[in-house]
Symmetry: C2
Subunit: 328 residues, 2 copies
């Protein structure tokens, strides 16, 4: 049985060199430094690992998927730079965010630069042009969707949306990039269309589970590990499936009123946030979210049942389970 | 003899439909509206016209270059949205800019979305995958360079740089996208490598002339037509080849001192800005810049002397001349 966390560490070590090899010493240095900061600083590397594993799982040459893995990681980091700017977040991975370090204009441009570099890398994939075109189609669609999902997330803030809208939002802002990484890896591995589709769906479901669990950690996680204040998402009024469940499940109007008065209140005290969490627990909303995340992951694993057994498939399964079984 | 301005109007009318056809009514509406605002509002459409003309000039089917023309226009508008945000500009084409209309997060995302859409369009070009890959190589390189050029422009502000640095900056922030449009059009038209290279160089030189003339208009243009305050570039300390020429040419230390005291002084009065312009005139710097722009355009035209005669080539020549012969 593969330990996804350990395996990810091993793969990160393999991917770190390539990730650090595509941005050279061009002019101007401040843009190069700003573009490098996040991808060079590490992270879980789940998306690039998925690209490589999906290539291997269909019998492909894993090394040919490494540039795609780098491109996907650059796209992920481009969105982090822009998201941090939009959210006004000042810290990531223990360091000042790009707009804090370099100012707003450079944060905008460093994101744009990583985005462009990702497409340069995809253009140069060592596969036939027809295959490259298929990869490009998944990746360019995913970035279009990412922007839509992020905008929906911005729009949803402080709003109570339906569970369907929540799921559509996290699909676009999180799952589609996982799915492009996975489908792209499978295409590079020369998988047939049905297999590419199955792997794409595996990653979409995994991404949904991952984001649901992320939102779960935001409320129920150990803040000393996640580094996120437990009340943060509640004060922001972030609408997750815990919230949508609570809103439709709380029977006592007084409790519902109390809950709504805390949600989205930037001045809510720690005690009020703890009370909101207690209300979520009593309504069964936290368990509900966790179960929904588990269901997505089991769906994901079922999608790839047809893949031949092997280490890459084992890792794909372990990675899907890890998406909803981590401290941070 | 083709009138470039009239011909551009005719081509704009043909391109407007396609430019308005690639962004549908997807969710969320505010992102769609923000993404559409600039490309739908018009503009000179020089870059898309160049893509189409270069395809025709090499004997290609012009209609096959129309999607590339749209993609290039989207990329141009993506950079305008992000530039306006970075520069804090509040008006463009008579309308509020995107960050003013929709807020900073949506301005960031609308730029990102147009960028992604451009690559989706290129992916779907109706040409063989090998050719699409060549187009993609030019375009993705150009966006990487655009970010570098824009960052250099930000870095140069208030600095006195050399003419070489100025030219490298405008090449990256302006010429490379013209060049990608032109080379891409030629590739779609199935031109041989030498012709693609010649057309690429034609557009690089045209772009240099265009930006030099833009900088010239910023100081010497009719502000009632350009819509730009004449003192704007001087107060910002924008380093152009007029400035670099003046700095190295002014012999009287007192005049040089006076000039430097006005340049980059955000509190400079209109009288002081007029005095700075007078100093530039007396030093021959305005004529120098204009002559340099003319030289670039003549270089551009020389590059395409080998193309067969015809309306598209005529327009390419007229367009290069128009780059340095316009009010706005």
């Amino acid at each position: 049985m593969i330990d996804a966390k350990e395996y990810l560490k091993k793969m990160s070590a393999e991917l770190d060199g390539p990730i650090k090899s595509y941005i050279g010493n061009e002019e101007p240095p401040n843009l190069m430094d700003a573009s490098k900061q996040y991808p060079y600083a590490g992270g879980k590397r789940m998306r690039p690992a998925m690209a490589v594993a999906c290539c291997g799982a269909v019998g492909g040459d894993r090394s040919k998927a490494v540039p795609l893995a780098v491109a996907i990681e650059y796209i992920h980091n481009f969105t982090l730079i822009h998201d941090d700017l939009m959210d006004g977040d000042e810290k990531r991975r223990g360091m000042d965010t790009i707009h804090v370090n370099y100012g707003m204009p450079t944060a905008v441009l460093a994101g744009d630069a990583l985005f462009a570099k990702a497409f340069q890398i995809i253009c140069d994939l060592d596969i036939p042009a027809e295959k490259m075109r298929e990869v490009l189609r998944y990746v360019s669609q995913s970035v279009w969707d990412l922007a839509r999902g992020q905008q929906m997330d911005v729009n949803n803030e402080g709003q109570i949306v339906t569970e369907d809208v929540y799921i559509e939002t996290i699909k676009l802002k999180t799952s589609v990039l996982f799915a492009a990484a996975a489908a792209g890896g499978a295409i590079i591995g020369d998988a047939d269309d049905a297999t590419v589709k199955a792997i794409n769906e595996y990653a979409l479901e995994t991404g949904l589970g991952f984001q649901m669990y992320d939102d779960y950690l935001g409320v129920a996680g150990d803040s000393s590990k996640t580094g996120k204040s437990v009340g943060n998402d509640i004060r922001k009024g972030k609408c997750t499936c815990m919230i949508t469940h609570a809103i439709r499940s709380i029977k006592d109007p007084a409790v519902l009123e109390e809950f709504k008065s805390i949600l989205g209140n930037m001045d809510a005290t720690d005690e009020q946030c703890a009370r909101a969490k207690q209300i979520l627990e009593e309504a069964g909303s936290i368990d509900y979210a966790l179960n929904l995340a588990k269901e997505k992951v089991e769906n994901a694993i079922a999608k790839i049942s047809g893949l031949p057994e092997g280490e890459d498939k084992e890792f794909m399964i372990a990675l899907a389970r890890y998406a909803i079984d981590r401290d941070v």
